[in-house]
């Protein structure tokens, strides 16, 4: 699955091109002894009403709840238990096990020792990969042979052209990076100094771009990183 990204270069040119990840193909599968295909389904074990929390709300005390369980089966919803779940919607639930429409969110920031450092209102991030301001290299190049053991480049996306013009555009970016044997930090926003946000309300990512060329073909990879290679002891 591909998505568009608005990417610019150091010369002030920009274009909307595609990016996509490479999905892992399964290596093996589980079958019956006769070799017949199987699949995995999610099923209901119990509902909120039959959960510990639901039963405590209903029977008020542990003793009363235990008595009810011993005398009947209030913990089993015979209609729902075992039902296959095709889809569901995530909701916030209050202590009365009712969906909540209006909520208040706080982020608590803890240090590595688990000490609370800060409480703050979460910032709502807007997607910025397809905005009026293209994603651009920040200007600084990082030689591959010196950055490879400092950051962890976890997720990778390949950039692809959508026509002949964008082929030339991306080829040029790839060639420059290839020739310098370096990767470049990408920045978003008017000053190209913001991390990338891929969808509204999404997380922020630091992204680097790597280019390789082979004859008349190119490879542009966007690497996402969010951790330095540091000792934890």
């Amino acid at each position: 699955m591909s998505r568009y990204i608005n990417i610019g270069d150091k010369n002030g040119r920009n274009a909307e091109v595609l990016f996509s990840g490479v999905t892992k193909k399964p290596v093996f599968k589980m079958v019956t002894q006769a070799g017949k295909e199987t699949k995995t389904l999610r099923v209901v074990k119990g509902t909120a009403a039959t959960s510990y929390e639901g039963l405590m709300l209903k029977y008020k005390t542990s003793e009363a709840m235990v008595d009810e369980i011993l005398n009947g089966d209030p913990e089993i919803d015979l209609l729902m238990t075992g039902k296959y779940i095709s889809s569901s919607s995530r909701v916030y639930v209050d202590q009365k096990l009712q969906p909540v429409a209006r909520i208040h969110k706080i982020e608590k920031v803890f240090d590595v020792d688990g000490n609370l450092k800060e409480e703050r209102i979460p910032k709502e991030n807007n997607a910025n990969i397809l905005s009026d301001f293209p994603i651009k290299p920040t200007g600084k190049l990082f030689p591959k042979n010196s950055i490879y053991n400092k950051l962890v480049f976890a997720k990778k996306y390949q950039l692809s052209h959508v026509n002949g013009l964008t082929f030339d555009f991306l080829f040029d970016i790839a060639k420059e990076l290839h020739d310098s044997d370096s990767i470049a930090l990408l920045g978003a926003g008017p000053k190209s100094n913001e991390p990338l946000v891929f969808q509204d309300g999404g997380k922020t990512y630091r992204a680097f771009i790597e280019g390789r060329v082979k004859a008349k073909s190119y490879l542009l990879i966007m690497h996402l990183s969010n951790i330095e290679l540091k000792s934890i002891t």
Binding site: A48, I85, Y92, V93, K105, V152, Q199, L229
Partner: protein, 201 residues
């Protein structure tokens, strides 16, 4: 001390345990607290597609079924490769010697990384020897399997001044692109939860 892995090349051996490295241990972490407007704590739940049944975390299970949706005992299943031939179990890396192969830095840039481990050595001389060897630009590739299973991961061993690390993931064979237009499936749904699983503080 944790279980040790024996890393080896043609003429060298190093024994080290593994400690997982993640953002929480390096930078700390953020926890989100959600309340209703009266300040009462909320938790996450799911409404089923009937629009009324509420389920809480832990109240679902995964079941293996046949194509007619009849449940199958997982113990009766067998693993096969995608061509239908019987799959062979790959032992845990803790139970066998890990053969290290010298590889290129480019392989590291092809590795989609899912886990990071720091190597913990009982023998400081071994750590120093391997760290010095790797810090000068050498990287080793190997196959890693935390638990015995049918699908091992790709891995790369490297070092910096902080220590020696194993990066675990999947080597991607990217295709170079020519001046041809390939048919792409475009995803227009920006709200769809994407598959990236890490965040910045």
């Amino acid at each position: 001390m944790a279980r040790l892995i024996n890393f080896k090349t043609v003429n060298q051996n190093w024994q080290a345990g593994l400690t997982k490295v993640d953002r929480k241990k390096v930078y700390g972490y953020i926890s989100e607290e959600v309340t209703d407007l009266d300040g009462n704590l909320c938790t996450m739940g799911n409404i089923l597609d009937d629009g009324s049944t509420l389920i809480l975390p832990g109240l679902t299970a995964m079941k293996t079924v046949d194509l007619d949706n009849a449940e199958i005992d997982k113990k009766s299943l067998k693993a096969v490769y995608m061509d239908g031939s019987d799959a062979e179990i790959i032992p845990s890396s803790f139970d066998i010697d890990i053969e290290l192969t010298e590889t290129k830095v480019d392989d590291l840039f092809n590795l989609e990384i899912t886990s990071i481990y720091q190597l913990d050595f009982e023998n400081d001389d071994q750590k120093k020897e391997l760290q010095e060897e790797l810090i000068n630009g050498k990287v080793y590739g190997f196959v890693f399997n935390f638990r015995a299973g049918y699908d091992a991961s790709d891995a790369i061993l490297l070092a910096n001044n902080e220590g020696v690390f194993a990066l675990i993931g999947r080597l991607i064979e990217f295709d170079y692109l020519d001046n041809n237009i390939v048919d792409f499936v475009i995803d227009d749904d920006e709200d769809e939860e994407d598959e990236m699983d890490f965040s910045m503080l």
